[in-house]
């Protein structure tokens, strides 16, 4: 128990969390501090490339694990299934309509890659390693949740734009998925040798870039919270804090069934627990324009993301270590 607390505390006073907190505080205080959009996008490209490449290089190094295919399928199932759990919970404890509830549900089936990245950095600090292919699992979990949400809407009689080919293409080939999978393949092809050539770029400064990126995330999340004060009811807020551990529990069960390492189990929990705030919102604006963006964005970025970053990740590490025995 004190192990969890220590881990949580160490996590809370790490430079990356404090950078996030600084951003949030600056936004809430209405400071004009801001990171240019292009720079924020540049950093996210850096993080995706780096995390993908390192995952691929690690797969090249350790060889393919028999569990790879199973874990990919588990990821697909979690992403497709969790929206139903989220939807049921939302319809029970909040007053959201079908459309808004389905839109929120789509976000919680999908994943937040920055939460994933932060978790790998906590794992590293805790001396745990994870299966390299977990980044591929992250990639496959981005999209299926959207399909489930649209199916939910159709069945419940809400109106959604028809799910045309253009939208499918946009979702499946969205920039982050392509970059993550592409970098993973490059890492897998060039292996340890390739990694060494670019390690001074993608490994050494990684934590520092993550700090500045989280500073910006804090700014964005803080502004969102500030502007939407009052828009979120208590039930909705509670959902944003309850759904992550519920998702994580499903992730843990899958990890145990698959026999993942403690590190791998943590990451699967993190993926299940986290909520999308890039790919899914963009898809929702096209497919479900009637859903209110300030609800799903504030929940996912303003409530669930900070929760996972500060308390969630250490909790999942502790639970995974205790249960799997890292």
């Amino acid at each position: 128990m004190s192990g969890i607390l220590d881990l949580a505390l160490a996590n809370l006073i790490s430079p990356i969390i404090l950078s996030f907190a600084l951003g949030m505080a600056a936004a809430v205080a209405r400071s004009d501090l801001s990171v240019p959009e292009a720079v924020a996008k540049g950093m996210s490209i850096y993080l995706l490339f780096s995390i993908g490449f390192k995952g691929g290089a690690s797969v090249a190094d350790h060889g393919l694990d028999a569990r790879l295919v199973g874990t990919l399928i588990a990821g697909l199932a979690l992403s497709a299934g969790l929206p139903f759990v989220a939807f049921a919970l939302l319809r029970t404890i909040t007053r959201l309509g079908v459309t808004d509830a389905a839109a929120v549900a789509a976000h919680y089936g999908s994943i937040s890659i920055v939460t994933f990245v932060a978790a790998t950095s906590v794992l590293q600090g805790a001396g745990l390693t994870a299966e390299g292919y977990m980044v591929a699992v992250a990639a496959v979990m981005e999209a299926p949740a959207i399909l489930s949400a649209l199916w939910l809407i159709q069945r419940k009689g809400g109106g959604s734009e028809e799910m045309d080919g253009a939208l499918w293409r946009e979702i499946l080939l969205n920039g982050s998925i392509v970059l993550l999978v592409g970098a993973f393949l490059i890492g897998a092809l060039t292996g340890q040798e390739g990694l060494e050539r670019i390690a001074p770029f993608i490994v050494a400064p990684f934590q520092g870039v993550l700090c500045l990126f989280l500073l910006d995330m804090g700014l964005v999340a803080g502004r969102g919270l500030r502007d939407s004060r009052g828009h979120l009811g208590g039930g909705t807020l509670a959902f944003g804090l309850m759904m992550p551990p519920i998702g994580a529990a499903f992730g843990l069960i899958a990890a145990l069934l698959l026999g993942l390492s403690a590190g791998g189990a943590t990451l699967l929990m993190v993926l299940a627990a986290s909520a999308s705030y890039i790919a899914v919102p963009a898809a929702m604006r096209v497919a479900l324009p009637e859903a209110n963006p300030s609800i799903y964005l504030t929940l996912s970025l303003g409530v669930t993301f900070p929760f996972n970053l500060t308390l969630g990740i250490p909790l999942y590490v502790a639970v995974a270590s205790a249960v799997v025995g890292g």
Binding site: V35, E37, E161, V220, G224, P281, S294, L297
Partner: protein, 103 residues
């Protein structure tokens, strides 16, 4: 200098819809338009700014088309089919153009 009557249509629309809008314009035979970036704005759905935007998904762009007056209705129909269910603003101004053969 010789000028010719034309219509200038300005459509402010969510960035994720931009490809659909340009597609619809092209299909309607409107092959000339210009897209300007938008920094921020305010409307019935609240205030937003590019840098302060939650998730940066929902930025907007401003699409300007200049067309001959007789093509205005085709253009508006095409544009409306895309913006119909979405937030956004469509405005039309009378204008004059040089080099009318280009439109």
């Amino acid at each position: 200098m010789q000028t010719h009557d034309a219509k200038r249509v300005e459509i402010i629309i969510e960035a994720p819809m931009e490809r659909r809008l340009s597609g619809a314009l092209m299909r309607a035979g409107v092959t000339g338009f210009t897209i300007l970036p938008v920094l921020g704005g305010s409307g019935r759905s609240g205030q937003w700014s590019r840098e302060g935007q939650v998730g940066r998904a929902g930025g907007m762009v401003c699409v300007t088309c200049i067309v001959r007056p007789e093509r205005l209705d085709t253009l508006l129909d095409a544009a409306f089919s895309v913006v119909e269910r979405h937030i956004g603003v469509v405005s039309i101004t009378d204008c004059q153009v040089l080099r009318a053969e280009r439109f």
